[in-house]
Amino acid sequence: MNSATRAAHDPSRTSHYVTDALYRDVVAWFTDWQREDRAVTDAAARDTFRRLVEREARLLDNDLLEEWAAMLAPECIYWIPASANGGDPRREITITFDDRRRLEDRIYRLRTGYAWSQKPKSRTVRLVGNVEAFICRHDPQARMLRSNVLISEFRGFETRCLAGWCAHRLRERAGGWEITVRQLNLIDCDRNLRNPSVIL
């Protein structure tokens, strides 16, 4: 699709970018990418990425979901695999493989006031750390981040802990960075999850 027709499609309303090529790219980008020889070592750059991950955690914890969604590119993917090796979302069910529209569906649903799984709402605090950055080997302009995350979630009567690591793919936008793909790998992603209704 050329950029003119693509511009005619608002990814919040219609889904034209989730193509076979996109699936192929996403699988390639998220395969064998944490390579020492491509690590970003520049302290200032690393600090920028660490701040991005921290901001994201703060926005999600503070229920500023719309602001968080604005950190993601218009044509973004929010992906939580259901298999421990990530799997191939073309061939298998994932916990979540949202495009922009479905991500906005997710936020819309939580805002309806009728999402019983979030009534009462969860309170969360995220601890993010071990942030490392790598230069994408498919595109030297793009960056890949790996960070670890612990989500403490209090709802109703109990606090539980969800653990995993996050992979972000970033590209430059107006002097900063936007998230094109966010993959969350829960350590228990292939086990039965209780009430996975907050944005993780």
Partner: protein, 458 residues
């Protein structure tokens, strides 16, 4: 070799008193204890998950000889295996020496299971093959008692594999009875009449397993429990007619219906709400990642046949519930797995279309990729709210002096419920007749002393 199992005749709950199940299950209501009492749960693990046919696995999870997949029959750990000869077996995942599980992997391929504890090794037929330092034993290891126990009856219906410990259980096809009609229709909408499992949306809730089985044909809860989903899936739709919209207004006036199909099975059929023509299903499918792109691709590649292909991406509007633990919902194969009286897994296996004859060409990849995304919608935006409500039922039932749970919607309303010659009972979509009927079958099983057996290779 068959071994009869001694089973406690009835759950002993108070000293010297067994439950009177006629008291607990009445015409219009059931007692809260059937959801909350650990003794009843324990009894269910033999009376129901043991004495009747229980869904164990789909054949696509063990396609080749030596493939295995670990699961449970009730609480019993089970290795589903296609042995070296191609025979499907349900082995107890329990070493005959000191009882440890033999296999700790979720799935794989193995000719032999070697016990990690003292190294006894068993063929995947269950037969004991080697014992380390055999000369330290005086016994005869050819005695079948050392072979792994297995479920004595394992049968498949068109890829759905069931097992029972009850040698007197009726043949599986008789057990399924009329519910095999909807199963056939569900399969036959796919090329070759089959599907394969491709991973799962795995959920769990802190509530009794029957809360899920009560729910799975319930047309009464939809507009309330799933209100957030209904609003969400229609937020961009011009007509507001996506997904479950036909529950709006008065769902009992719609052509859809619920049915009780005997032996505990129930069925909600929403297909009569939509026209019988290619593309009708696709029109009501909610938006998914890739919807517009794939629709364009399929129309370009397939021309007039595109609508039929798009219907394969869309969710089939049926809830086919096979007692006690299998629900075919939309395109998912959902399995209800009781873990304790108040903990249950519901595992929603995703299904993909197989196109061995190549009728869809390379469009099959587009079809399946989109089908994965349409399947992810309901567990994410719908089921989570039901599970929250099941958990809140379990919490509410702790108010133990308020004893009764009602399932009497439709009972006694003239002209509402119809009984066909084959015994199938149908009623409008929000009727609870299917609950009242299946729970009678549950009551019958709970009153019947289970006759259970296990088998070992000779």
């Amino acid at each position: 070799m068959l071994e009869k199992i001694r089973t406690a005749p009835a759950p002993i709950v108070r000293p010297n008193a067994a439950y009177d199940y006629d008291e607990l299950v009445q015409e219009d209501r059931v007692h809260q204890l059937i959801y909350t009492d650990p003794a009843i749960f324990t009894a269910e693990m033999t009376h129901v998950f043991g004495a009747t046919w229980v869904y164990l696995a789909h054949e696509s999870q063990i396609p080749k000889p030596d493939d295995f997949f670990t699961t449970r029959l009730g609480l019993r750990p089970i290795i589903m295996v296609r042995d070296a000869q191609g025979q499907v077996r349900a082995l107890f995942n329990r070493c005959t020496h000191r009882g440890t599980t033999l296999c700790r992997l979720e799935r794989g391929s193995a000719r032999m299971f070697r016990c990690p504890y003292h190294g006894w090794a068993f063929l995947n037929s269950g037969k004991l093959q080697t014992v380390p330092w055999r000369d330290g034993y005086a016994c005869d290891f050819d005695d079948p008692k050392f072979n792994v126990a297995q479920v004595p009856r394992v049968e498949s219906y068109r890829g759905f594999i069931f097992g029972t410990l009850n040698m007197a259980a009726m043949p599986l096809t008789d057990y399924l009875g009329p519910i095999s009609g909807p199963i056939d229709e569900w399969l036959d909408r796919h090329p070759g009449g089959r599907v394969v499992i491709r991973e799962a949306n795995r959920l769990m809730y802190r509530g009794n397993w029957k809360l899920a089985y009560d729910n799975s044909s319930d047309g009464y809860h939809v507009i309330f429990s799933h209100r957030s989903l209904l609003e969400t899936e229609n937020r961009l739709a011009e007509e507001g007619d996506k997904g479950m919209s036909f529950y709006k207004g008065r769902p009992d006036d719609a052509p859809m219906y619920v049915a009780y199909m005997g032996n505990g099975h129930h069925f909600k059929d929403k297909r009569p709400n939509i026209e019988k023509r290619p593309g009708a299903l696709w029109e009501i499918e909610g938006a998914a990642p890739g919807t517009e792109h794939v629709e364009g691709e399929l129309r370009r590649k397939l021309g007039a046949r595109a609508l039929e292909a798009l219907d394969l991406c869309a969710s089939e509007p049926v809830n086919i519930n096979v007692f006690p633990n299998l629900s075919i919902l939309g395109n998912h194969i959902q399995v209800i797995e009781p873990l304790s009286v108040d903990t249950t897994n519901t595992t929603w296996y995703g299904t993909a279309v197989v196109d061995e004859a190549g009728i869809w060409g390379d469009a099959i990849h587009d079809i399946n990729a989109l089908r994965m995304r349409t399947q992810e919608q309901f567990p994410n935006f719908g089921e989570v709210d039901d599970l929250a409500n099941f958990e809140e039922i379990q919490r509410g039932l702790a108010a133990q002096e308020d004893e009764w749970v009602y399932m009497h919607r439709g009972l006694g309303v003239p002209g509402r419920i119809r009984v066909a010659d084959n015994g199938v009972i149908t009623a409008p979509a929000t009727d609870e007749v299917f609950m009242r009927e299946y729970i009678k079958e549950w009551r019958r099983l709970m009153r019947t002393p289970p006759q259970l057996s296990i088998r070992r290779e000779p």
